[in-house]
C-alpha cells in the first residue's frame, strides 16, 4: 500500500479520536441548550473549573489559600493528604452540583422568560466570574493531572498495523480512553433520559417548558439537574484535555473547538454532537494532511468553521437539530 495512503488512514483514525474529544466538549453545550434554550458560554470555563477542582482535591490543596494567607498572614497551602482519583472525581461532581444549584438560585431563576440574548450575556458574565473564582481558589499555575489514564502510543495497534502494512499506526492510548468514556457517557445519558423519571421530566421540559410546568414538573429542579449533568460532562472533558496539557487556564479555550461541532451537529441533539465531532475531527485532520502543505499549514482552526458553515447553508438547524419553524 502506498505510504501516502497509509499516512492518510492514520490521520483519519486520529481525526476520529480528536472528534470524540471535541464532541465531549460539545455535549455540555447541547444538554443545557436543549433543556433551557441557553447557549452556555461558560461551558469551557466549567471544564477548566472542574479540572482545577479535581486536581486541587487530589493534591489536598487548600482552596483560597493565597487569599487566606494574604489576609491572615498565614502560610497555608496543603492539607497534607492525597485523595485517590475516584474519590476526588466523586467530590468534584458534588462541587459541580453545588455550582449548578448556585447558578440556578442566583442567576437564572431571576432571568426566567427573559430574551435568549440576555441569558447568553449572563453566561458570559458567569464564565469570567468562574474563571476568577477558579484562579482565587486554586491558583493559576499549571497542574499535572494524572487520574491513571494510560498515555502514549498504543503498542498493539502499532505492532498489528506494522505487521499488516509495514507501517505502524500511531493511536494515543488517551484518545482510546476518551472514546470509551464518551461511549459510556452517551449511553448513560440516553439511558437516563429514556428510563428514569427525572430523565423523562428533562425531556418534557426540553420539548415544552409550559406544558411540563402544567403537569407539575419543577423547572427549577430540572435546570439544576441539567446544569449538574453539564458540569459532569465538563469534568470529563476537562480530565481528557487536562491530561494532555496539564490543567491550566487555556483549557477554557477548548470551547472554541466545540462551536463548529454544534453548528454542524445541531444545538439540540446528543447524537448530533457526537457525529458532528467526528465529522469535524476527520475533516480538519484530512484537510490539514492533504491540502495544508499547499497553503502553508495551520488550517485546522478555520477549516472546521468552513466545514460547519457549508453544512449550515444546506441545513441551518444542523445535521440532527430540530427544524426551525416560526409561526406568524
Amino acid at each position: 500500500m502506498p505510504d501516502q495512503l497509509l499516512f492518510a488512514m492514520e490521520v483519519m483514525l486520529n481525526g476520529l479520536m480528536a472528534g470524540v474529544l471535541y464532541a465531549l466538549v460539545a455535549l455540555g453545550f447541547v444538554l443545557i441548550f436543549k433543556a433551557s434554550g441557553i447557549f452556555n458560554y461558560a461551558q469551557g470555563v466549567m471544564a477548566l473549573f472542574s479540572a482545577l477542582t479535581l486536581v486541587g482535591i487530589m493534591d489536598g490543596q487548600i482552596p483560597f489559600s493565597h487569599l487566606i494567607n494574604a489576609i491572615f498572614g498565614t502560610d497555608l497551602h496543603h492539607f497534607g493528604w492525597h485523595v485517590p482519583a475516584v474519590v476526588a472525581i466523586f467530590l468534584t461532581v458534588i462541587v459541580m452540583a453545588v455550582f449548578a444549584w448556585l447558578v440556578q438560585k442566583f442567576i437564572f431563576r431571576h432571568l426566567v422568560n427573559q430574551e435568549p440574548i440576555l441569558l447568553f450575556m449572563a453566561t458570559i458574565g458567569l464564565a469570567y466570574f468562574l474563571e476568577g473564582v477558579g484562579d482565587l481558589m486554586w491558583g493559576s499555575d499549571i497542574k499535572k493531572l494524572d487520574v491513571g489514564l494510560p498515555q502514549g502510543i498504543n503498542e498493539w495497534i502499532d505492532i498489528t498495523t506494522f505487521e499488516a502494512f509495514g507501517y505502524g499506526f500511531f493511536i494515543d492510548n488517551l484518545d482510546i480512553s476518551a472514546t470509551i468514556v464518551a461511549i459510556i457517557l452517551v449511553a448513560g445519558l440516553i439511558a437516563f433520559s429514556q428510563y428514569t423519571k427525572q430523565g423523562r421530566a428533562l425531556r418534557a421540559v426540553a420539548d415544552d417548558h409550559q406544558a411540563a410546568l402544567s403537569v407539575g414538573i419543577s423547572l427549577n429542579f430540572i435546570w439544576i439537574l441539567v446544569w449538574s449533568i453539564a458540569g459532569f460532562v465538563a469534568l470529563v472533558a476537562g480530565i481528557m484535555w487536562g491530561a494532555k496539557s496539564g490543567v491550566q487556564f487555556s483549557l477554557s479555550l477548548i470551547a472554541l473547538k466545540a462551536l463548529p461541532v454544534l453548528m454542524l451537529g445541531g444545538f439540540t441533539s446528543i447524537p448530533g454532537a457526537i457525529v458532528g465531532g467526528l465529522i469535524i475531527g476527520v475533516g480538519e485532520k484530512l484537510f490539514e494532511f492533504l491540502i495544508g502543505p499547499m497553503v502553508g499549514g495551520a488550517t485546522e482552526n478555520w477549516f472546521a468553521y468552513v466545514l460547519a458553515l457549508l453544512f449550515l447553508v444546506f441545513r441551518p438547524q444542523g445535521l440532527f437539530g430540530e427544524k426551525i419553524i416560526e409561526r406568524v
Partner: protein, 422 residues
C-alpha cells in the same frame, strides 16, 4: 498652632521631593498565559524591592514598580502604556511581541525606551534606526542560530532534516527567515510545521513529524502550545535530546505536565537557571523573610522568575549608568535611554551583584541595541526537576543575522521615514 502647621506644610510642599524611579511592569497575572506571566512579574518586582530594602533604591532614589495587567492582550498592553507613561516611566518591558510592535512608534515618539528582552522586533537591534528600542542580550534570530550551532556541535548537519514547530503568529514566524538562510549555508532541509493558536490540539503536526522523521525539531511556542508539543513528542517517542525550544518554550511549566517523559528536552536561554547565587540569599533575607515578596512568593528560582529578575537587574544597571552619565540621581526617560545605550555587562559586574555567570557579557552601543547575541542551551533533568546549562554562552552567526538585521531595519526606516543616525 494652626498657622504653624500650615506654614510647615507650605515649606514641605515647596521643598524638592525625592521622586521615585518608575519602572512599569506590563504583567499578565490572569488569563491563559498567567502561569508564565506571574513568575516573570514576580522576579521583576522582587529585584527592585531588594534594591529598595537593601540599598535604599538606585543611587539613593527608591525604585517604584508600576504594575499594569495586560492579560497578554495587545490592546490592553497599549492601554497600560498610555495609562502609565505619564507617571515618569523610565523603561517599558512589554513582555509581548504584539505589544512591542505597537509600542515601537509610540514610545519612540514619547522618548521612552523599550526593552524587549529576547522578544519583539528582532531588527530593533539596529539602534541607528530604532533609537528607543533595545533587545539585548539576544534576539530570536540569535536563538535560531544558537540552535543550529548546537546541532552542528553534535555532528554534521549537512543533509539533515530539521523541523520548526512554531506558533502561527508574528512571534512564531520570526526565526523562519534566519533558518532559511542557515539551511542554505549549512545544507540542511528545513521543514515548517505551524500550529494555530492556542495549540491545544497538535495531533496533525506530530503525525506529520512522525511520518517525515526530522532529525531535529525546533520549537517557537508559548503557553499551552509548549506543554502539548512536549507531550505529543513524548507520545510519538521522539528523542527529547533532539528537541530544542526557544527560551519561551523552556520553563518548568512547559516540561512538568509531561513528567518523566520530558527528560532530556532542551531549551535555549540567555541567562542562567536555578537559585544557587549569592543574590538569592539577599532576596530571601530582605524580600521573602520580610514578607515583601511579590505574588505568592512561590516562584523564586524558576526559569521565568530568573528572567524577570534578570530584566530588572539590567534595567537597574542601565539606570545606574544613566545616573553616572547625567550626574542626576533622578533621571529622565531620555537619560535612561542614554544609560541603556551605554550599558556594559561584564562578568566582574555580575559577580559584584551576586550573580556570577548568570548572563552573558555584552556591550550596548548606538549602532547595536541587541548586545552580543550570546546564548546557551539548557537541558531538563526530570528526576531532579531542574534545568541545567549544558553549554557556555556562545556566539550566533552574525554574518547571516547582521545582514538580515540591516535589511529589515532598512525596510522599516524607509517605510517610517526614518533617517538612520548615530
Amino acid at each position: 498652632m494652626r498657622l504653624l502647621a500650615m506654614a510647615t506644610a507650605a515649606v514641605m510642599a515647596a521643598s524638592p521631593v525625592m521622586a521615585d524611579l518608575v519602572f512599569p511592569s506590563l504583567s499578565y497575572r490572569t488569563g491563559p498565559y498567567a502561569a508564565n506571566g506571574i513568575p516573570f512579574a514576580d522576579g521583576y518586582e522582587d529585584y527592585f524591592t531588594l534594591l529598595n530594602e537593601r540599598d535604599g533604591g538606585i543611587g539613593g532614589v527608591p525604585a517604584r514598580v508600576l504594575e499594569c495587567e495586560t492579560g497578554y492582550n495587545t490592546e490592553k498592553g497599549v492601554e497600560c502604556y498610555e495609562a502609565t507613561k505619564g507617571e515618569g516611566a523610565l523603561v517599558y518591558q512589554p513582555l509581548s511581541t504584539g505589544i512591542t510592535y505597537q509600542l515601537i512608534p509610540k514610545a519612540t515618539a514619547d522618548g521612552i525606551p523599550v526593552h524587549s528582552m529576547g522578544y519583539g522586533r528582532t531588527s530593533a537591534k539596529n539602534g541607528a534606526v530604532f533609537s528607543n528600542i533595545f533587545n539585548y542580550p539576544a534576539n530570536y534570530w540569535d536563538g535560531a542560530s544558537h540552535a543550529i550551532n548546537h546541532i552542528m556541535s553534535l555532528g554534521d548537519i549537512s543533509g539533515k532534516k530539521i523541523a520548526l514547530v512554531y506558533h502561527n503568529s508574528a512571534y512564531g514566524k520570526e526565526p523562519i527567515r534566519t533558518l532559511e538562510e542557515l539551511s542554505k549555508k549549512h545544507g540542511f532541509e528545513l521543514m515548517l510545521v505551524p500550529v494555530d493558536h492556542p495549540g491545544q490540539e497538535q495531533k496533525s503536526q506530530w503525525l506529520q513529524i512522525r511520518q517525515q522523521r526530522p532529525d531535529n525539531v525546533l520549537m517557537w511556542g508559548w503557553g499551552v502550545m509548549n506543554q502539548v508539543a512536549i507531550q505529543e513528542a513524548a507520545n510519538i517517542r521522539y528523542p527529547m535530546e533532539n528537541f530544542i525550544g526557544i527560551w519561551w518554550s523552556g520553563s518548568e511549566n512547559d516540561v512538568l505536565p509531561a513528567g518523566e517523559k520530558a527528560n532530556g528536552y532542551k531549551a535555549l536561554t540567555f541567562h542562567n537557571l536555578g537559585k544557587d547565587y549569592p543574590l538569592f540569599d539577599d532576596l530571601q533575607k530582605y524580600v521573602v523573610d520580610a514578607g515583601k515578596a511579590a505574588g505568592a512568593g512561590d516562584q523564586i528560582g524558576t526559569a521565568l522568575y530568573n528572567r524577570g529578575m534578570y530584566a530588572a537587574m539590567l534595567a537597574a544597571e542601565a539606570a545606574k549608568t544613566a545616573q553616572e552619565l547625567s550626574g542626576n540621581a533622578e533621571i529622565t526617560p531620555a537619560e535612561m535611554r542614554d544609560g541603556m545605550e551605554a550599558l556594559e555587562m561584564t562578568e566582574a559586574k555580575m559577580a559584584a551583584l551576586g550573580l556570577p555567570n548568570f548572563g552573558p557579557e555584552f556591550k550596548v552601543s548606538c549602532e547595536n541595541h541587541g548586545g552580543n547575541g550570546l546564548g546557551a542551551v539548557a537541558q531538563w533533568d526530570a528526576a531532579a526537576g531542574s534545568w541545567n546549562l549544558i553549554t557556555g554562552y556562545e556566539a550566533s552567526d552574525q554574518d547571516v543575522i547582521g545582514a538580515l538585521v540591516d535589511e529589515d531595519s532598512a525596510a522599516f526606516a524607509a517605510e517610517s521615514g526614518i533617517t538612520p543616525s548615530c
